[in-house]
Symmetry: C2
Subunit: 368 residues, 2 copies
């Protein structure tokens, strides 16, 4: 029984992942309907505004759904949003049993659908593939929990932690394969964020392989090169955050959106920035650097997940730039830490990644 | 046939490793004598000055050695050294076949024993477990090839390459398990080397778990704390290398051996230092830091093997000390690189280690 449930839930998870990078601010959801041990229909949530996974699968199954089992990686919705509640559709279709990976933490749902199903004599099994289901919706869970975007940090460095040589050379540290891998993340998250210095030095495109993400620049002075690629291309998706007086925005092309807020001791408040992004509907941010920007995100405990691409090279050099700069932590015990980091080989490079140990937002806020 | 040979050669290699840390300047050698698929005697080289592995095994086998097969991980010696040539003992004992993992690169041997065996109607098979046999005698092969000690570098750092926080805290970055692991290396190599700054800041003991290695300090000024542990304990194994005038040696306890040589632009010449150590019979050096010392060894391409212990923590901080300092390389293509690095987990820490890509000594000399 259990094994069968895992098998079909895996199928639902695979379907859910097809929506990766497209469903924001909605979660990734996949559903399969099973009768006599056979999948009779499938569905996944393709894009915000389109039908939910359960609705797609139910529609495809039609009358055959009666007496069947529905597998879905997230508790079906209870509330009227862009679509009518899935929980009602499930009941109406005569589904006999619903297998759910994880409860929807959204206060508008949070077990309500499960209770309603049970009340209507639908059997419910909760918790199948829970860990994987939480991970594929890492963004959504963070959003609901903290009302903040999910923050992913990335560094590509030498084995001794450098992102430039002593002469400032930075291209390329890792292999093309690793860089391609990292570009994939831009498809997965809503926005890419860099500091002004990175824009000045590298003039990056910041595009994904399949998607143009939002491009967020932090700049205290607004002294940015007007001819930068990102100001000239897809510029409606480029936002600049500054602590400068808004008058200084004249330095930038007119079509660029600029957000200004008072500076803290360390420059613009990253918490305010993240709050603003969240209000703007940006549910996840991929922080690509440079050193100072990464340093501030890390030392303020604002990073949820981190990827370190490591080339097995030793640059050395006390003047070479280190991957994570800023003020840094003062004591080792204060340092952000990956819990159970994963290690992968990407060609000749090494990728170490993981989730940061939980630091409550309140605590992080107090610290900075 | 081949499989049997590998099996018995593995036994010889296991025996050889028992001498680890004790045979210098001799190689690690193990031997087994096999008759009718059974090991009839074994031997390994325990310590410089004591009998060779083959001699031990042959003596134990006695007359039973006649017609048997000898497995040994290094070509038997041809020359009279502290003991008489093993090749003659093998022929005399009536051994029928000798299986050798790897040729002895020593010019006094280098295939001569193999030729002599064949001439005397002893069958010879060469190359069984060659890679492993080369690795366990990494020190010996380097010594013979370059007339220099084998240099092993070690760093213990945060994920972003730091060895201190921005406030200078450095204890402890990695877990006790990783530090214990690293202490084991002091048993394996002849000497441990550190820079003056590390001595001043950490006052380390630099002892192995089973052995007191030679302790080498590099100090340009000779301004070293007289009460350091290593000056007060086992001080006959403590050597100081300086570019100071030898008069300055009065700053140090009288019993400490001081070697002086003219400074290069970057301080004392590491090549001269390594040459001197080699003359002193120190066949391998474990360079433990600090950042500046490691930086100089790396950027001059003097490192043969490197161990990076990485705690999955992010210190950040542009003022935090990076694991490998010094001048560093100017261009990425000049950077020393591990070939096919190995990755291991040591508790919650990560160990990345490997051999440095071959850079000929002549080339390295020219570069610096």
């Amino acid at each position: 029984m259990m094994e069968k449930d895992i098998y079909f839930m895996q199928k639902a998870l695979e379907l859910a992942k097809k929506g990766q990078g497209k469903t924001s601010p909605n979660p990734l959801v996949g559903a399969v309907i099973v009768k006599n041990n056979k999948i009779i229909s499938k569905g996944f949530h393709k894009k915000c505004g389109l039908a939910h996974a359960e609705a797609v699968a139910l529609k495809r199954a039609g009358v055959r759904a009666k007496g069947a089992t529905l597998y879905v990686n997230l508790e079906p919705c209870f509330h009227f949003g862009r679509t009518s509640p899935c929980v009602d559709k499930i009941i109406k279709a005569g589904i006999k049993r619903v297998v759910i990976a994880v409860k929807d933490p959204n206060p508008q749902v949070k077990g309500k659908s499960i209770r309603k199903l049970k009340k209507n004599k639908v059997k419910v099994s909760l918790g199948v593939c829970q860990k994987e289901a939480s991970e594929i919706n890492e963004v959504f869970f963070k959003n609901i929990k903290d009302n903040l975007p999910f923050v992913v940090a990335k560094a590509a460095q030498s084995l001794d932690g450098k992102i430039t040589t002593s002469l400032g050379e930075s291209k390329w540290i890792t292999t093309d394969k690793a860089r391609q891998f990292s570009r994939r993340f831009r498809d997965r998250y809503d926005a890419v964020l860099i500091g002004a210095e990175t824009l000045r030095k590298d003039d990056p495109k910041l595009n994904g392989l399949d998607k143009i993400p939002y491009k967020i620049i932090i700049s205290s002075s607004l002294d940015l090169p007007k001819n930068s690629y990102i100001f000239k291309n897809f510029s409606n998706k480029t936002y600049v955050f500054t602590s400068s007086n808004l008058k200084a925005r004249n330095k930038l092309p007119k079509n660029i959106k600029v957000f200004s807020s008072k500076a803290t001791k360390e420059g613009i408040s990253l918490k305010k920035l993240l709050n603003k992004l969240y209000q703007l509907g940006i549910m996840s941010v991929f922080v690509e650097g440079g050193a100072d920007t990464l340093g501030r995100f890390f030392s303020q405990n604002l990073v949820d997940k981190a990827y370190f691409f490591i080339a097995p090279k030793i640059f050395g050099g006390k003047d070479a730039l280190s991957s994570v700069g800023g003020a840094g932590v003062k004591q080792i015990k204060q340092s952000p830490e990956l819990k159970k980091p994963k290690i992968e080989r990407i060609g000749t490079d090494i990728l170490i990644w993981g989730y940061l140990k939980k630091v409550s937002y309140a605590k992080a806020r107090k610290k900075s």
